[in-house]
């Protein structure tokens, strides 16, 4: 039996953000924007969705008078990502 893929993660930009954050302790918004080639507006909306799902923590602060947004994956996010990858692998295993 296949589980449905998590709809929060099964979208291009949100999955890209989560894949970046799973590999590092924390990353700035500008870094995620550079790596995903997304626009700031699109990225903000998707980050907010991931935050509302409890998958990431977002910290907003000021550094040298500039706003700085830092994101890090939560335990719940790690579990969700892990489940998502396992489900993907079982789908692909069945197809292959």
């Amino acid at each position: 039996m296949f589980k449905d893929l998590d709809p929060i993660l099964h979208s291009q930009l949100r999955l890209a953000v989560m894949s970046l954050l799973i590999s590092v302790k924390e990353a700035e918004f500008t870094f995620i924007k550079e790596k995903t080639n997304a626009t700031a507006g699109n990225l903000s909306v998707q980050i907010q969705k991931l935050k509302e799902a409890g998958y990431i923590d977002v910290v907003k602060q000021f550094r040298d008078n500039y706003p700085q947004t830092t994101c890090r994956i939560t335990r719940q996010g790690i579990r969700a990502f892990d489940d998502y990858v396992q489900n993907l692998q079982s789908y692909l295993g069945k197809q292959g």
Binding site: L5, H10, S11, Q12, L13, R14, L15, A16, S19, L20, I22, S23, V24, K25, E26, A27, E28, T30, F31, E34, K35, T36, N37, A38, N42, V45, Q46, R63, V85, L88, Q89, Y91, L92, Q95
Partner: protein
């Protein structure tokens, strides 16, 4: 990248792999601090060797340069932290490892000075009575203690970063540590200079090259 674009399962896995690799590529440290320390330790050792070889003495202890080097080290660390847009999991561990190493080095300098000072009168008394210097001279062994310490954070950092030049550099420090027990002081100083070049200077150059390459690639993506 489309925010709501649905992906096939294969596309999803490819995207995950691609993004994980991108994150890994971004976690390059500059090699400037390693280059600086490699050069300073090699320079200090070679100057001390020259002092012994050519019978001259500088008006100050050349190893005081290592104290001065703390200033650029702090500057480089702060600058690197400020510029970093991403923090890797091992960063904090490596920072504290090297901080602990720095503290151990200064404690070891203090300990060796204390032992040397305590031993000196006994050595002088022996020479007076026996007519020749004692066969045991503490300074003959001090390089081994330092090389022992040099090897530890170098080797562990190399393992932690999966960076072979540092692993080999750390191992070379330990081989030199063993060799320095049996070699005269001049050879100990050469071994120390050689070890610092291989443990820090060369790995630092490689790290800096990789960092500059990654920076250029990132800049090229945003032309």
């Amino acid at each position: 990248m489309h925010p709501e674009k649905k992906l096939t399962e294969r596309e999803s896995l490819e995207l995950i792999t691609q993004m994980i690799n991108k994150a890994k590529d971004a976690c390059h440290s500059t090699g400037l601090a390693a280059i600086m320390w490699g050069l300073i330790i090699a320079f200090c050792s070679l100057v001390r060797l020259a002092e012994i070889q050519y019978w001259f003495k500088l008006p100050f202890d050349i190893y005081l340069l290592t104290l001065l080097a703390i200033i650029p080290q702090v500057y480089l660390s702060v600058r690197e932290k400020r510029k970093a847009k991403v923090k890797a999991y091992g960063d904090e561990f490596i920072d504290y490892l090297w901080l602990g190493f720095g503290i151990c080095i200064f404690l070891l300098i203090f300990i060796t000075q204390a032992v040397f000072t305590a031993w000196k009168p006994a050595g002088e008394e022996y020479q007076l009575l026996a007519g020749h210097p004692a066969s045991f001279q503490f300074y003959e062994f001090s390089a081994s203690f330092f090389l022992l310490l040099y090897g530890l954070p170098t080797f562990v950092s190399g393992i932690s970063m999966k960076f072979r030049p540092m692993i080999w550099g750390g191992l070379l420090c330990w081989v030199s540590c063993l060799a320095a027990i049996y070699t005269p002081v001049k050879a100990d100083l050469l071994l120390t200079a050689l070890s610092s070049v291989f443990a820090w200077f060369i790995p630092g150059m490689i790290m800096e090259k990789r960092y500059q390459k990654a920076k250029k690639e990132l800049a090229a993506q945003h032309v």
